[in-house]
C-alpha cells in the first residue's frame, strides 16, 4: 500500500510543470484583486483574508481536479489493467490515487497563505492559521475524488475540457472568484449547494473568528459521498476499456 503511494508521489514531484501551473493563476489573481479592490485599513485586511481563503481554495480545487488528467494518461497506457492483475485491491488504488490528488493541492494552499501573510499583511492567531490550512486541505477530498471519477470515466479527448469546465463553473458559482453576495437571489440560493461554496465558507468562518455553519459541512460531506461513489463505480468500469 505505501509502495503505491510512494511511487505516485515521486511521479507527482517529478512533474514540476503541473505543480507550478496550479500556483500561478491563484497567486496572480490574489495579488491583483486585493490591490485593485482592497480599500484601506480594516476593510483591506478583511478583503485580504477573504480572498486568501478563496484563492487558496481555487488553486487547491484546480490541482485536485487536474490530478484526474494523469489518471486518464495512466488508463490509456494500460497501467490500470496492469495494476488490476496484481494483489493491489481496487479500493486501495482509488484511495491512494485520491490522496495523491489531495497532496497535489497542498502547494497552492500553502503558497497563497504565505503570500497572504507576507505580502498582503494577513494577521491571524496561530491556531486559526493552522485550522484554515488544515480544513482547506482536508476539504479537497471530494474534488480529488471527482477528478478520479473523470479520470476513470471520461474519454481521453474529453477529459481536459470537462475538467476545465467543471473547475471554472464550480469556482465561479461557488463564490471563489467573487463573493456570492453579489449574485442575484436565485443564483445565490443555488450557490449554497455548489461543493466549492461550503468548502471555502468553512475556512472563511474560522479565519473571521467564527464557527463553520452546519449546512456548509453537511453539503460538503454529501458531495464527498457522491464523488466517492462516482470514483469507485468509474474505476470498476475502467478496467474493461483501454482508451
Amino acid at each position: 500500500m505505501s509502495g503505491y503511494l510512494s511511487i505516485e508521489l515521486r511521479r507527482l514531484l517529478r512533474s514540476p510543470g503541473y505543480l507550478m501551473s496550479s500556483l500561478a493563476m491563484p497567486l496572480v489573481m490574489y495579488l491583483v484583486i486585493t490591490n485593485l479592490y482592497g480599500g484601506s485599513g480594516a476593510a483591506r485586511h478583511d478583503t485580504a483574508i477573504y480572498l486568501m481563503v478563496s484563492m487558496a481554495g481555487f488553486g487547491a480545487v484546480g490541482a485536485a481536479l487536474t490530478n484526474g488528467l494523469s489518471v486518464v494518461a495512466d488508463r490509456s497506457a494500460g497501467w490500470l489493467r496492469q495494476l488490476r492483475i496484481t494483489p493491489l485491491s481496487a479500493g486501495r488504488v482509488v484511495v491512494i490515487r485520491g490522496l495523491t490528488g489531495m497532496l497535489a493541492a497542498l502547494p497552492a494552499i500553502l503558497a497563497v497563505c504565505v503570500v497572504g501573510g507576507l505580502i498582503n499583511g494577513v494577521r491571524l492567531p496561530l491556531d486559526h492559521w493552522f485550522a484554515v490550512v488544515a480544513l482547506l486541505w482536508l476539504g479537497t477530498a471530494p474534488f480529488a475524488l471527482l477528478g478520479l471519477g473523470i479520470g476513470y470515466l471520461v474519454s481521453t479527448q474529453a477529459a481536459q475540457p470537462v475538467t476545465m469546465l467543471l473547475n471554472l463553473s464550480m469556482s465561479i458559482l461557488g463564490g471563489l472568484w467573487m463573493p456570492a453576495t453579489v449574485f442575484p437571489a436565485t443564483l445565490r440560493a443555488v450557490s449554497r449547494f455548489v461543493p466549492t461554496s461550503g468548502y471555502a465558507e468553512i475556512s472563511r468562518r474560522i479565519a473571521f473568528d467564527g464557527l463553520p455553519h452546519a449546512t456548509d459541512i453537511a453539503v460538503l460531506l454529501a458531495w464527498f459521498v457522491v464523488f466517492a461513489g462516482l470514483a469507485t463505480v468509474a474505476y470498476r468500469r475502467a478496467g474493461r476499456r483501454t482508451t
Binding site: G3, Y4, S6, I7, R10, R11, R14, S15, A73, D74, A77, G78, W79, R81, Q82, R84, I85, T86, P87, L88, S89, G239, R240, T242
Partner: protein, 293 residues
C-alpha cells in the same frame, strides 16, 4: 492448493455486439506447462487472455485459475502478465517500478535474480520514458515475473521486437518456465510456438482447432510439400495437377501443397516437369495454415 490445474476454461464464450470473439472454448492447463496460444490476428487470442486474467467477464461459461476466480487468484499474487499494447508510465525509474511491483506480492523474486532473468543489468536507474522499445519490453517482462507468479501470461510479447531481441526474450522466458512455473503465451509466429512451448493450442474464429505437442499438431495435418524447379514457362497450370491444394513460388522453385504426394509426383513426370524434386512432411507452419484456413 485447491486444484492441480493452473487454468480451466469450461464452455467459455464472449461476443462483441454481433461478433462472436470466443466461441465455446474448453481448455485445461495443468501446473508447470508452457503453452502457446497460436492463431491469426482476430482469432480471439487477446479476448481469451483478457478473460483468463479477469479483465473481461465471460458472457457464458466458467473461467478458473488454480480452482478459483481469476480475481481471487490475482489478489493472492499467483498471476503475472505482460499485456498487449501497454505503455510504461513516465517519471519512474526501472528500479522504483520493480521495487513497487515486488512489494505487492507475498513471495517476490529477489531483485538480483529478477534483473538477471529479464536481462536488465545497468538499466535500474533509467527513467521508463527514456527506454528503447526493446528495453521497454524487457521491463514489462520483468514487471510480469517480479512477483514470482505461479501463472505467467504473455499476450504477443514479441510483436514489436527484432530477431535478436526475440531470441533473447524467449531465452528469458524459458529460464522462468524451467523453474516449474506455468506459462501461457500468445503468438502468431509459428516458429515461436514450435521452439518454446510444450503444448500448442491453435485458435481460429474463436474456437480451438488443435491442441497438443508441437509434433502432434504438426501430424494433425496430413499435408505435405512437393517442391520442384520452376518450369521454364512458369507456375501456371500447376494448381490444376491432381491432388494439389496450393502452389507457392519462392525464388526458382515451386512448392506444391498436397495430401497425395505420389499422385503429384506421377503427374509431374507425365508432363516432364520433374526436376530437382524434394518431398517434405508438413512443417508446423503448414499444419497451422491448413488448420486456420
Amino acid at each position: 492448493m485447491g486444484s492441480n490445474d493452473a487454468v480451466m476454461f469450461a464452455g467459455v464464450s464472449k461476443s462483441y455486439g454481433a461478433v462472436r470473439a470466443v466461441d465455446g472454448v474448453d481448455l485445461t492447463i495443468p501446473c508447470g506447462q508452457t503453452v502457446a496460444l497460436l492463431g491469426p490476428n482476430g482469432a480471439g487470442k487477446s479476448t481469451t487472455i483478457n478473460m483468463m486474467l479477469g479483465l473481461f467477464p465471460a458472457d457464458r461459461g466458467r473461467v478458473e485459475l488454480f480452482g478459483r476466480s481469476p480475481e481471487a487468484a490475482s489478489a493472492a499474487g499467483r498471476v503475472g502478465a505482460m499485456l498487449q499494447e501497454t505503455k510504461l508510465v513516465p517519471r519512474v525509474t526501472v528500479g522504483e517500478l520493480l521495487a513497487f511491483v515486488r512489494g505487492l506480492y507475498p513471495r517476490p523474486l529477489p531483485t538480483d535474480d529478477l534483473l538477471r532473468v529479464a536481462n536488465l543489468g545497468g538499466l535500474v536507474g533509467r527513467r521508463l520514458e527514456k527506454l528503447s522499445g526493446g528495453q521497454a519490453q524487457r521491463v514489462k517482462f520483468a514487471v510480469a515475473i517480479a512477483g514470482r507468479p505461479d501463472l505467467l501470461v504473455l499476450d504477443e510479447p514479441t510483436a514489436a521486437m527484432d530477431v535478436e531481441s526475440r531470441r533473447e526474450f524467449w531465452a528469458s522466458m524459458r529460464r522462468y518456465s524451467r523453474d516449474g512455473h506455468t506459462v501461457l503465451f500468445s503468438t502468431h509466429y509459428v516458429e515461436e510456438a514450435d521452439e518454446s512451448a510444450d503444448r500448442v493450442v491453435v485458435i481460429a474464429g474463436g474456437r480451438l482447432v488443435a491442441d497438443g505437442s508441437p509434433a502432434e499438431v504438426r501430424r494433425a495435418s496430413t499435408a505435405q510439400t512437393v517442391a520442384v524447379a520452376l518450369p521454364y514457362d512458369g507456375a501456371a497450370g500447376l494448381e490444376r495437377l491432381p491432388g494439389v491444394t496450393a502452389v507457392e513460388v519462392r525464388g526458382d522453385r515451386a512448392y506444391l501443397t498436397t495430401t497425395e504426394p505420389d499422385a503429384v509426383v506421377c503427374a509431374l513426370v507425365e508432363r516432364g516437369l520433374l526436376r530437382h524434386v524434394e518431398v517434405r512432411g508438413a512443417r508446423l507452419e503448414d499444419a497451422y495454415l491448413a488448420l486456420t484456413a
